[in-house]
Structure formats: structure tokens, C-alpha cells
């Protein structure tokens, strides 16, 4: 089993407030292999973005990592001093955020922002950095890259801007890209293009991706494996086709079932009753138990870890424990 590129173990993120401590991520563990695309899916507030922020070391205070480890290529990065972490960011881990409109500094040309990033991490003079920047722009599908180099962000459309953002993320050849809702702010017609681009480029550059989104369609299209998050925990993880077609955790079953299908006719869409609990009201035991149609006594007291199901791993007592699955 080769060393995973990224390994997150028992990550616990807290937000101390004056009314008590809020637990945002509770014992989150997963890994990403080199070159793999891991989708992280869940509702708003499940903790997906926080996980990404913790990994790149940009967790906003008062949030902090209370427990756990994050290892990149075997070395711990969650406890690095700020200047060492800065060397990691951009060079070894790249990031893509949701809104391309606000991700770029409106006062600087796109080219300048690219060259600056390149020169920060790679030893190059201006001419070579510029050449590389133009090449990156071309790679991300921006027409007339030479001229566009000197354009300002507001001169690009939304999709084009996100391509620039992708170019910026790849500029220093990082091994891992954390993409936080990269297509959510874009037109539906553009989303497919951007996802395809991301997939192609990361394969070409040999980078792994942690693709955070709430959109199952994007996950299905782009990821190799997927992790489902709920209330700050991972409830299921596995190869993407398995999670979609043979989900083991009732929450995942509900998620997949609620996606309308073009093929089958329904009178009503399937829905999961209730809502995800707020951070200060997470139930004991399994966090999903109040809404789970299959919950039993144990679910209300004991919290399940990820256990092997048929094709995936699920944190559910139906899978492991006394009342086992199939």
C-alpha cells in the first residue's frame, strides 16, 4: 500500500465561543492517494470547507485544530510554524475557491498575479516566469493568452476567471489541490467545462484533488473516490460508483435517492425528513439517528466509526456491530 499523499487522522476542529465550545469537525479521518481525486460531499454546514481550510492552514480564528494530525507525504503539516506553512501553500498544496469574481485582486492584471505566484515558489527570472504564465493560461483554455496576460480580472467572464484561478493554483506545480466548490458560482453550462478542465489538468500535472462540493453530479463526473460528510463527521467513504449505486449509510441512501432521475418517473421526490443538526445541538450517538428511518437503540448512544460494508466504508451500526448488514 503506497504512502498516501495526504493523510488526515482524527481531526477535531473547535470554535470556542462565550456560550461554550462548538465542535465543527469531530474525529475526521481520511486519506488521498497521489494523483487521486477525492470528492467530499455534504450539505451546507457539514464541515467540508472547514476540512479544506484546516488542511491548507487557513482556519479562521477563533477556530482551531484541537486534536488530530494532518500529514502531507508523511510529514506533519498541521503544527508547522507560519513561515514553514507558507512554503507549503501554493508550492505543495494549491487551492481553488468558490467565487472567481472575488478570488482575484481587481487592481492587478492577471499576468502579474500569475508571475508573482510563480516567482514566489520557483527560481525563475521574469522572462521565464512570464513565458510559463502564458503557457498556463493557454493550458487552461484561455484564447489569445499573450494579450490576455495584461488584462484585468473584470475583463474576463466568470468561466474564464475560474480558469485563471485554476492556472494560479497549478502555477507552482503542487501535488495536491484543495478545490472548495469550484463550480458552484458558475453557470450550469460552464460547470461541465470547468470540471472537465480540472480533471484533465490535474491528471496531466500529476496532482491529487480534494474536491469539496454539495453537487453530486460534479462528484459523479470527476471523482475517483467520495467521502460523505454529515454534522462534522464522515459517514461514508468509498469508490464513487459504489457510493452512488450501493450506498450503505442511510444518509447516503437518502442523498442518492433524492436526486431526480431522467430515466424513472416519480410522483414525489424522495426527501429526508428533518434537517442537519446545528453545531450546538448534535445528538448523542450517531449524529443522524433522529432522522434515520432505520435507527435502533444503539444508534442513540454509541457513536459508530467507519466500518467495512459491501463496497464502501460506512459509520453505521447497520453495517458493523450486533445487528450487522447482509
Amino acid at each position: 500500500m503506497p504512502t498516501p499523499l495526504l493523510e488526515v487522522s482524527h481531526l477535531r476542529v473547535e470554535f470556542p465561543t462565550r456560550r461554550g465550545t462548538l465542535l465543527a469537525l469531530d474525529d475526521v479521518s481520511f486519506s488521498i492517494a497521489p494523483g487521486e481525486i477525492l470528492g467530499v460531499v455534504g450539505e451546507s454546514g457539514a464541515g467540508k470547507s472547514l476540512t479544506g481550510a484546516s488542511i491548507i492552514g487557513l482556519l479562521e480564528p477563533p477556530g482551531r485544530i484541537a486534536r488530530g494530525e494532518i500529514r502531507l507525504e508523511g510529514e506533519r503539516i498541521d503544527n508547522l510554524p507560519p513561515d514553514r506553512m507558507r512554503a507549503v501553500r501554493g508550492r505543495r498544496i494549491g487551492a481553488i475557491f468558490q467565487d472567481p469574481l472575488t478570488s482575484l485582486n481587481p487592481l492587478y492584471t492577471v499576468g502579474r498575479q500569475l508571475v508573482e505566484t510563480i516567482q514566489t515558489h520557483l527560481p525563475m527570472d521574469r522572462a521565464r516566469a512570464r513565458a510559463r504564465a502564458v503557457a498556463l493560461l493557454k493550458e487552461t483554455g484561455i484564447p489569445a493568452a499573450e494579450q490576455r496576460f495584461d488584462h484585468y480580472p473584470h475583463q474576463f467572464s466568470g468561466g474564464m476567471r475560474q480558469r485563471v484561478v485554476i492556472a494560479l493554483a497549478l502555477a507552482a506545480e503542487p501535488k495536491l489541490i484543495v478545490a472548495d466548490e469550484p463550480t458552484t458560482a458558475l453557470d450550469v453550462s460552464i460547470q461541465a467545462q470547468i470540471i472537465a478542465l480540472l480533471k484533465r489538468l490535474t491528471r496531466q500535472h500529476g496532482a491529487a484533488v480534494m474536491l469539496v462540493t454539495h453537487d453530486m453530479g460534479v462528484i459523479a463526473e470527476a471523482s475517483d473516490r467520495v467521502a460523505v460528510m454529515y454534522a462534522g463527521r464522515i459517514v461514508e467513504v468509498g469508490p464513487v460508483q459504489q457510493v452512488i449505486h450501493r450506498p450503505a449509510h442511510p444518509y447516503t441512501v437518502g442523498l442518492m435517492g433524492s436526486i431526480p432521475s431522467m430515466a424513472v418517473e416519480h410522483d414525489r421526490l424522495l426527501q429526508i425528513d428533518g434537517t442537519m443538526p446545528r453545531l450546538n445541538a448534535i445528538p448523542d450517538g450517531c449524529a443522524f439517528n433522529p432522522r434515520c428511518p432505520k435507527a435502533f437503540e444503539r444508534c442513540r448512544h454509541d457513536r459508530p466509526d467507519l466500518m467495512a460494508a459491501e463496497a464502501t466504508q460506512a459509520a453505521c451500526w447497520l453495517v458493523g456491530g450486533e445487528r450487522g448488514g447482509a
Partner: protein, 327 residues
């Protein structure tokens, strides 16, 4: 962009005309225009003559046009208090006020921006708290009180700096300047410091607030995520984005210094236009009031215009056309 400039020019002209109108109303209806033009010692015949010349029974618009015409030539008649031509008085006093305002502007800008950046970047440090507290005192202290306190400390108690007047001035090409003599500089210190403090505190708080906002934006977060050094993030990106809106606001504020000079000049008996204006208000010296009004309005309007153009020069989003979101 041409359309924008034209629109602003028209606006400027409208404002000037409105101000001229108010000045005209002052001139004609508050007090006696003949007295305003001839002074109080004019003879009855002179008044009669002037009344006829002025055609004071002429229709209102005609009189207004004549007033504007005169104003454009700097002709505002005689000061009621001093009997001299208003234009001569203003020209005499103009350099003093400008030098004072300019020095105060430089102090306020340099210190204000520096402190603003410092208190934003080192938000929770002790030094920051101290400066923030001082800035709060700075905007709570009225300018005249600052002046009096400075006089008390430096002129009365320590006796190191003079407390009134301009000191020795040298005249260069018709401009009487206090900047060319040591004595002139000594006299400039307390008044310009006084005038600058309120603006300094304001600029500092503005820069700080704006910088804190900028530091929370996505593009700064993205810049950090790309591993850019602190220096690049704070001074390359954050500072530039902070200064763009701030510079234009401060431009307007600094224009206001010309008006606030009224107070400082009163405290220090600085022989500038402001002191002239206050004496005019106390004495109901209408021609001087009207002239001061028109002149300061002109200065403000010009500064406003320049600031708008500056915005254009500095923010690329205004200069270059946006792309229609098609692809």
C-alpha cells in the same frame, strides 16, 4: 469616460452658480449693495451715481449676471470693515492660508496612513491600542482646544515656540511665504500641527477600517493560499487595495482643511483668509463674506473634480470597459 468628465464639469458649474446665487442674495438683500460696493464713507452723490450706474431697478436676472461677471473678475467691491478692495485683501491673505493648509495636509496624510496601516496589521498589540485611544481623543478634541493646549504647553510653559502670527515672511514673485525663514517655520509648527490632528485621526481610522475590510476579502485569502509572503500580501496587495478608495476620500477631507483653517487662524491669530472671514462674520462685512464663499466653493469644486479624475486614473475597473458575460 469623456461623458463622465463632461457630466462632472456641468455639475461643477451648477454648484458654482448656486453658490454665486447665495453670495448674490447676501450681497443684494442682506445689507445695502451700494454700501457694500462703496464702503460706508461714500457721499450721497456717489451713492446716487452708483445706484444709477448699477441700474438697481434693473430686472433680477440682469443684476445676477452682472454680479457673476464681476465675480469672475474678482470684483467684490470694498470691505465694509476696512474700506479696502476685497480682492486685494483676499490676495494678501491667500498664501498664508494655503501654506498652513498644505503643511497640515502633509502631516495628516503621512502620519495618518502610516499609523492606520500599523494599527490594522498589528491589531491587538499594545501600541495599536494606544494609538487607537489617542485617535479617539483626536476626534473628540475640538481643533481650537488642541490649539490652546499646544499654546499652553509649548508657548506658555516651555516657551520654545511662538503662539501667534506668521513670523518673518519673505516675498517671492508676489507670494509671501513663511517657508523661507527659520522664524517662519517656527511659527508654522503649532498651527499646522493643530490643524492636522483632526484629519490625522480621521485618516488613520479610515485607513485602518478599510485595511481590515480588505484583509478579510477572498482575494487576500487566495493570495495567502498561494503561499505569497506576508510582505507581498500586506504591502503588495492589501495596501494597494486599501489606498485606492481611501486616497479619494482623503482628497476631499484635505480640501476641507481650507475651511477648518478658520478656527486655527483664530486661535493663533494667523493672518490668513479664515481669520479675515471670521472677522467679516462678526462685523457683518458682506462683501468679504461673499468673496470668501465664492473662492472656497471654487477650491472645493476643483478639488472634488481632481479627486474624481484621480479615481479614474487609479482604478482599472473604471478605466477599461467591462466584458459582457458571454462565455
Amino acid at each position: 469616460m469623456l461623458a463622465f468628465v463632461l457630466r462632472r464639469l456641468i455639475q461643477a458649474v451648477v454648484v458654482m452658480l448656486t453658490v454665486a446665487f447665495i453670495a448674490f442674495m447676501l450681497f443684494q438683500y442682506v445689507g445695502d449693495p451700494v454700501t457694500n460696493l462703496l464702503g460706508q464713507d461714500a457721499t450721497a452723490e456717489q451713492r446716487q451715481q452708483l445706484r444709477a450706474d448699477l441700474g438697481l431697478d434693473a430686472p433680477f436676472p440682469v443684476q445676477f449676471v452682472r454680479f457673476v461677471g464681476n465675480a469672475l473678475h474678482g470684483e467684490f467691491g470694498l470691505s465694509l470693515r476696512q474700506g479696502r478692495k476685497v480682492s486685494a485683501l483676499i490676495v494678501e491673505r491667500f498664501p498664508a492660508t494655503i501654506e498652513l493648509a498644505f503643511s497640515a495636509a502633509v502631516i495628516a496624510l503621512l502620519a495618518g496612513v502610516t499609523l492606520g496601516v500599523y494599527t490594522a496589521l498589528r491589531r491587538d498589540s499594545f501600541g495599536s491600542q494606544v494609538w487607537m485611544a489617542l485617535s479617539l481623543v483626536g476626534v473628540s478634541l475640538p481643533t481650537f482646544l488642541i490649539g490652546i493646549l499646544l499654546i499652553l504647553v509649548f508657548a506658555v510653559l516651555l516657551k520654545v515656540l511662538p503662539s501667534f502670527g506668521r513670523g518673518d515672511v519673505a516675498t517671492v514673485a508676489g507670494w509671501s511665504s513663511g517657508l523661507l525663514t527659520v522664524d517662519g517655520w517656527k511659527h508654522l509648527v503649532l498651527p499646522s500641527l493643530t490643524l492636522s490632528i483632526f484629519q490625522l485621526a480621521l485618516i488613520m481610522r479610515l485607513v485602518r477600517a478599510e485595511m481590515l475590510e480588505v484583509l478579510r476579502t477572498d482575494y487576500i485569502k487566495f493570495a495567502r493560499a498561494r503561499g505569497l509572503s506576508d510582505r507581498a500580501v500586506y504591502f503588495g496587495h492589501a495596501l494597494r487595495n486599501t489606498l485606492v478608495p481611501v486616497i479619494t476620500i482623503t482628497g476631499l477631507q484635505l480640501g476641507a482643511l481650507i475651511a477648518y483653517a478658520i478656527i486655527t487662524e483664530t486661535v493663533f491669530q494667523w493672518p490668513g483668509m479664515g481669520l479675515l472671514f471670521i472677522q467679516a462674520v462678526q462685523f457683518a462685512d458682506i462683501p468679504v463674506m461673499a468673496a470668501y464663499l465664492c473662492l472656497t466653493a471654487l477650491i472645493f469644486v476643483l478639488i472634488n473634480l481632481m479627486v474624481d479624475l484621480l479615481y479614474f486614473a487609479v482604478d482599472p475597473r473604471l478605466r477599461i470597459e467591462r466584458v459582457a458575460a458571454a462565455h
